[in-house]
Symmetry: C2
Subunit: 287 residues, 2 copies
Amino acid sequence: MAQTNSMGGMVSLIGAGPGDPELITVRGLRVLREADVVLYDALVDERLLAECRTGAELIDVGKRAAGAEPPPPNPSHHNALAQERINALLVAKAREGRRVVRLKGGDPLIFGRAGEELEALAAAGISCEIVPGVTAATAAAAQAQLPLTRRAAGGSLAGSSRGVLLITGHPAAGTAAAGTTASAAVSWESVAAIAPSVTVCVYMGLKNLPQIARRLLDAGLAPQTCVTIVSNASLPSAQVFETTLAGAAAAAGSDGADNATDGLPSPALVLISSNSPQHYVSPPPRK
Amino acid sequence: MAQTNSMGGMVSLIGAGPGDPELITVRGLRVLREADVVLYDALVDERLLAECRTGAELIDVGKRAAGAEPPPPNPSHHNALAQERINALLVAKAREGRRVVRLKGGDPLIFGRAGEELEALAAAGISCEIVPGVTAATAAAAQAQLPLTRRAAGGSLAGSSRGVLLITGHPAAGTAAAGTTASAAVSWESVAAIAPSVTVCVYMGLKNLPQIARRLLDAGLAPQTCVTIVSNASLPSAQVFETTLAGAAAAAGSDGADNATDGLPSPALVLISSNSPQHYVSPPPRK
């Protein structure tokens, strides 16, 4: 699919997967090992970068989930770059005729802003291929052993989940700002309307979970709806915590009050299941 | 995470990815190579099975996407087995103390009926781990170079996609049968309500696409909504075809009439994007 341009340079957008460096694809790892230049995000594991060939240029472009702490300063890496600078860097490195990899957490096309990079590369006439990756929602579900879709026994629809909705809980990315059109942002009302028949996976949703839960309750979703929070899915530090929509909303009115989810680290996925999910192993104890 | 039981047997549910055998994860391939017994689906590539160690027992359990043609009879493989027999086989092989792999197309927890297998294994007290995989929707999006989420330039919400909805177009799995409760199946009305702000990915949706499109039009989705069909994503035989919701619905009233999508092979993913998706490369010509 991918073709090199007249200068020989091209860009591969690669999904690094959800955390565990072994959850990159075989193809992603192969292309990474062949790269001349690698632009990588903050959430990418150092062990993946160690797979790059000697002499490859590694550039930390520092993008991370909203709300995550900035990494400690590292003088061997470039500073974090705005998206525009990342786009320009991809174009410039490819124009030097080099094999460029843009390594992103999860899958490049889900909450990864790949569209802006693809647009810049297309405008510059630079060839690009995309190597998909395991997105965080499926890793979180694997960690909790919680099927995202489920046919109930005997063909009953009760207890089933007929689809999966992936949304973000970060206000800048996911909710309508005042005055914007309702058609262009995911409204919590439309989420609440479809939530009873699907599993809703909220990316970057931990910080705003009480507000999200309250919005969904206000929109009519049942208080006993199951909420499963998975932190650091696929890593040894993974944690699984379960509550209900009512429980998740409880801390929303009391700023600074203890919140059952306060101790959970980011990145975290929030899985919302109206038909009580079946967990097939006990989640690990907290702390 | 995974622990062996007292007999030493355990089961790994592994996502084989969307088609290209190189799109399995590094971890999935490692565990597959160590397996004593592998139960695999029809859509799994033979080149992945060739990675199994000499002496591994390979069992074709023959599950495939609804509507796909059955494979030619192969006397070296077991016949296709019903889900109950697959569950029983997983339990029996693990109880022999062997390392069992259940290899599924895509990701095990998305439209893979893993819930039934997890339930059977838990009931039998058999340990299980899940290795997530690349789900077909992200491979289809990578093939079409179509971002599933997208922030429009300048922060505008126009042209953006703030989430992803994964549903199935197979009636037995995805739509409410007459008399069932509306809350337990995905209604096309709730899909149409959220579709303007997300990318809708329909698994197993090619065969019923005219009916699906008409239902979505009836529910109020705009006729000019973009529909991108990706067949055999990630494989050399991949095809990308674009139409609109109105175009996809056009053949619905005329049984047997030529349909623009008739020549597209399965498996196929249908991507429905209200805000015109940006394709950054030309899709390959048909035929």
